[in-house]
Symmetry: C2
Subunit: 376 residues, 2 copies
């Protein structure tokens, strides 16, 4: 059975990236590697929309999340964390493991945080050192209003850290224009490369914080990374082939143009949302991101069964809900190497699975709605 991977990471790998990773392995202390790394760094700056330094780790997204805490803070520092899903919660877990004073803002899953609450918290806690949030909370499909939050945080001494692991290159994020201090991402979502690379961009304001930081950290040391960056190298062994693959992806993204790419994802997401609504189902997120669409399972249908049927019987792999959303939502990704017909396949398969599981729908109805939006 052919497989169609439509999960919110890993995403399918473009042929060019796979071919680049099949090239003979090279050593990392060579001019050849430095050339690739320079292109990668410059490309990432284009996609991050920043002039800030970008530090690359051989790690997955959570490694970058740890780095965004361990490099900039000291024992018992106070941090504000927006907890609107599993990935917001992860920041709190990491912060607590470092002994920080974590102030959570608990947001109902599926809802977006009200930036005014962040302002109030910062006003009443002037010693908050950093604010942690997600661009797209992958577990709920919610988009956070980073622009407004950055306006609030940049007026204080705190730094703003944004987990853009699942949404970089998919949802708009103007790192410099909006004043976001640290942006975290990974290779296996919008960057269409296998898992194993994580990145953080670091603003001047954030670099200043590293000087006082006393948290223990070695592997994810941003300062060590910065030292080596000037010669386009890394302090420890980098993930060479993944960087070769990423470089191929970056070249393709530059060719397409970031704006065109973001517009494409907006169209894929809109078509999916409209198709879902035409089948009389609801979108879970109040403020949906274009990276992933979370769909409420219809009354009486277990979303895990839908995901299982699609995977085992149709070869179409989407995600279900995590934690308290288990059984309640289906998540179809738009991020990464995704195009119009991927959405046609996903919606067609969703229709078939729901019908098999007893949901009363007319096959093809959602597909027709999607076709009209995707190809208008």
């Amino acid at each position: 059975m052919k497989k169609y991977l439509l999960t919110p990471g890993p995403t399918p790998i473009p042929e060019n990236a796979n071919l680049a990773m099949m090239k003979p392995i090279i050593h990392h202390r060579t001019p050849e590697f430095a050339n690739i790394f320079e292109e990668v760094i410059e490309g990432l700056k284009y996609i991050f929309q920043t002039k800030n330094d970008i530090i690359v780790f051989a790690a997955t997204g959570t490694g970058g999340m740890q780095a965004s805490i361990s490099n900039f803070l000291s024992s018992s520092d106070k941090i504000l964390v927006i907890e609107g899903g599993k990935f917001g919660q992860r920041f709190s877990k990491i912060g607590k493991s470092y002994g920080l004073d974590v102030i959570p803002i608990e947001v109902e899953w599926g809802k977006a945080v009200d930036p005014e609450i962040i302002r109030q918290k910062l006003d009443s806690n002037e010693d908050i050192k950093a604010v942690y949030t997600t661009l797209c909370e992958t577990s709920t499909g919610v988009l956070t209003d980073i622009k407004t939050i950055a306006e609030i945080v940049s007026a204080t001494d705190a730094i703003l850290v944004v987990d853009a692991v699942s949404a970089l290159g998919v949802c708009e994020l103007k790192t410099d224009e909006w004043n976001v201090d640290v942006v975290i991402s990974g290779s296996q979502k919008g960057l269409m490369t296998p898992p194993g690379l994580s990145f953080i961009s670091v603003s001047e304001k954030a670099w200043a914080k590293t000087e006082d930081s006393n948290l223990p950290e070695f592997y994810f040391s941003a300062m060590q990374g910065k030292d080596k960056l000037s010669s386009f190298n890394t302090p420890w062994t980098p993930a060479v082939t993944l960087l070769q693959g990423l470089n191929a992806v970056i070249k393709d993204i530059k060719k397409q143009g970031l704006e065109n790419l973001l517009n494409k994802y907006a169209k894929l997401a809109k078509a999916t949302r409209s198709a879902v609504e035409s089948l009389e189902m609801e979108i879970f997120a109040s403020q949906p991101a274009n990276a992933v669409t979370a769909i409420k399972a219809p009354q009486g249908i277990d979303s895990q069964e839908v995901v299982k049927y699609m995977r085992d019987e149709l070869g179409v792999i989407i995600s279900g809900g995590q934690a308290q959303l288990k059984g309640k939502i289906m998540r179809i990704a738009h991020m990464g190497y995704m195009e119009e017909f991927d959405m046609i396949v996903a919606i067609s398969a969703l229709e078939v699975a729901l019908k098999k599981l007893g949901y009363d729908l007319e096959l093809g109805k959602g597909v027709a709605v999607a076709q009209n939006i995707l190809f208008e």
Copy 2:
């Protein structure tokens, strides 16, 4: 833009075959190669449904067609050729290039030959040495009734040669049970391997003809091939990596089971035909093969424009008409590494292209019909 290859050859290559072809190249005069070649020959016999010898050439289908003439005939021999399309005509061209006396049976393109006409020709020309026809005439999508023709030819001294290049492993062909003397195929259609391999199966009756044959032939000598077959090797350098790829495909076909595979293609073809009819278009072939569906372009629409729009704007690559059918038909393949969602993509894209080119249709109508058949 992602590409979806739905042409009647080459067909997409399964991942396992691509991976097998990426293995280190081996030398062909080794036990390692002989093991692979033995597996390939046994697998081909399973798919050809024969106990006859199978000779493998490093060539594409037309090489096998030439071999099916040059090995079994002598100067000025009389042969009967069913010309119902471009590939039937090719037999006549090869026969004439060898100075044979070619008796064509011209069949209106899109129609199947009436086996009674073959019986009459054989009755009135007792010196006909061989009858050449196609299982699926790829240019028109017509299926030939090989079983009935074989009943007629096997009662004479003539051998029956069937071009099954595009239909082996896709449409039913019981080589031994039906008494087909020579079956020709190639790697790049139902066998899902890149172009470069051609095969002929040779019955005892056909082998007997090689003894008197005086036509010049060296590269495609079936006798030379047979000599080496006992040690699972080839007289000249074989196409090593293609055989590695084919071996991977054969293992997968055996696992799936030939009958299941044929049933799958029947379903894909039926869904496509029904979808096309629901869009008020006609199937070109009076007796359609499950390997490829030829669709008459609607009044006022040039099929070349449909093919071009699908290819350039949607990345969905189907074929148009050849020779006198240029501009008049679109051909969507079902052969090879094709599954249900490939048809959903093809039909969805066909709808979009036709609508853009001014044909009045409701997007999603054909897709819904196909969904109901594919997933019932």
